[in-house]
Symmetry: C2
Subunit: 230 residues, 2 copies
DNA sequence: GCGATGTTTCGGCCGGGACCGAAGCGTCGC
DNA sequence: GCGACGCTTCGGTCCCGGCCGAAACATCGC
C-alpha cells in the first residue's frame, strides 16, 4: 500500500475463468460479438455482459457498437503483450487449458499474436531479419537498417506509410511456445498482412492457427532464410 | 476452453490485494520473511501464510527456510518481467496505489526492477550502450558488440563469468514510468551491483528507490554519456 | 408498426475464498 | 530443558462476486 501502480485490478480481470477465456479468444485479433464471447467463455448472455462491462472499464478491451451487435477487441497491443507475458509464464509450468489436441502442433508452427505472426514461423521471421543485420538497436527503440529496409520494401510493403504512424515500427514480443522473441509492432502486423495477401498462408476459420500452403511455406522460407553457421 | 496456456491461475494470484502487495514488495528484489510480507500486505500471519503457500504453488515465488524464518523471493526474472508488464498497463491508466508521495520522484529517477536498474537512470544506461553501437541484435538474443564489451569490462565487470552462466546476458524490460526499454538480464544485474559497489548510489533502506550521491550521479553520467544529435 | 434477435439491467441465489483466533510445530536463546 | 518467537494448520465466519432467469431496451427485417 505504498508505491507503484495497482496491479490488483488487472489481475482480478484475468483471474476469472470466464474473462480469461474471453481475453484469450480476443488474442486471435478478431473482433467478436458479446454472444460469441459468451459461448467462448461458457456462460450465459447476462453473465457475459457483466464481464464485458468490467473488462471495458479496466481498459483491457474496447467496444464498437454496430447495429444490434456489440463487437469487442483488445484495447491495444500493450494489452496483448501483457497477456502473452502471463501466458508464457503459465505455459512454462505446463498449465495448459486442455490436453494438447491435434490443433496444437499447428499452433506452435504458426499462430496469430494479436495482429502479427508468432510460433516457429514468427521466430524464423525475426531471426532472419536480425541475423542478417536487418535490425539495429537505437536508443529508444528497434529500427531497420538500410539493408533491412530494402528487404521489407522488396516484399511490397509501404514502409513510409508505416513510419508515418504513431505506433512503433518494431517491438519484440516473447513467444510462449518458442520462448524466444518475435517481431511485433506495426512492421510485424504489416508483414503478417502481406503473408496473407500473397496467399502464402490462411487463417484457420476460428482460433489462432495460421496454416501455410506447401507452396507458401516454400516462398516464406525463401523470403526469410536463416543465416546458418556451417 | 480450447487452446493455449491457462492464464487464470496467475491472474487470480495477482488479483487479490494482499497477494498483489506481496508481489509488489518482492519486486524490490530483497528476500522478505513471512512476517514482513504479512505486514506489507496488511493481513494477519495466518492469512499471509495461506497466501504464500498459494503463490509458491503457482511458482511465482520461491521459499528458503532459514532457522525459524521463511524467506521468500520472486521465482525468477520472468516473473518480474510479467509483473512489470502488468504494472505498466495499470500505470498507463493512472491506477496508482496511492497519491504520489514525496518518494515518487525518486522512484521515477532510479529504482530496482527485481535485480537491475529501472527508471530514468535505467533507461539512460540502456540508451548509452545502444546509442553508441554497444548492442547488437543476434538471432536469438541481444548481444554486446566488441565496443560494448570493452566499455563493460572497463567498469570492472567480469564479463566472462557472466557469459558462463545459463541466464541470458541481455534482456530488455519495459519501464512502467518511462515507457521505454531498459537493460535486464545478467548484464543488467551486474551493472547495478557495480554501481552499488562503486558507491555511486545506495538503496533506500526499504522500498525500491535507488538514491545517487551527487558525486555518484556525475560519475554515472560520465560513464554512460548520451549520444546527442546536435 | 410488429415480432425476432442481440444485449443490458435487475433481483436473488449460492459458493468460493479471504480472514481471524486458537492450537500445533519447529527453532532459537539461555 | 524451557519459554519465546515465527510460521503453519485447523475450524468457523462472513462477504464478495459470479451466475442465472426474467424483464427491459435497442435494432433489424418485413
Amino acid at each position: 500500500m505504498k508505491e507503484g501502480p495497482d496491479i490488483t485490478r488487472i489481475g482480478a480481470m484475468i483471474g476469472d475463468p470466464a474473462r480469461a477465456n474471453m481475453l484469450t479468444a480476443l488474442l486471435a485479433g478478431r473482433a467478436l460479438t458479446a454472444g460469441e464471447l459468451a459461448r467462448e467463455a461458457g456462460v450465459g448472455a447476462a453473465a457475459a455482459s457483466e464481464h464485458l462491462r468490467k473488462l471495458e472499464a479496466a481498459a483491457l478491451i474496447a467496444r464498437v457498437k454496430q447495429g444490434r451487435h456489440h463487437y469487442f477487441r483488445l484495447a491495444g497491443d500493450e494489452v496483448a503483450h501483457m497477456l502473452e507475458a502471463v501466458a508464457g509464464l503459465a505455459a512454462q509450468h505446463g498449465h495448459l487449458r486442455s490436453r494438447p489436441g491435434p490443433r496444437d502442433p499447428d499452433l506452435r508452427q504458426a499462430r496469430i499474436c494479436y495482429d502479427h505472426l508468432a510460433g516457429t514461423a514468427g521466430v524464423r521471421l525475426y531471426d532472419s531479419l536480425a541475423g542478417q543485420g536487418g535490425l539495429v538497436l537505437t536508443p529508444d527503440r528497434i529500427d531497420l537498417t538500410d539493408a533491412g529496409r530494402a528487404r521489407i520494401m522488396a516484399l511490397g510493403i509501404d514502409l513510409a506509410a508505416l513510419e508515418a504512424k504513431r505506433r512503433p515500427l518494431c517491438r519484440t514480443c516473447l513467444d510462449w511456445s518458442e520462448r524466444r522473441t518475435h517481431l511485433a509492432g506495426s512492421l510485424g502486423a504489416a508483414l503478417f498482412d502481406r503473408i496473407i495477401a500473397l496467399k502464402w498462408a490462411n487463417r484457420a476459420p476460428e482460433g489462432r492457427a495460421v496454416l501455410f500452403s506447401s507452396a507458401g511455406e516454400q516462398a516464406f522460407q525463401d523470403a526469410f532464410p536463416l543465416f546458418t553457421v556451417d
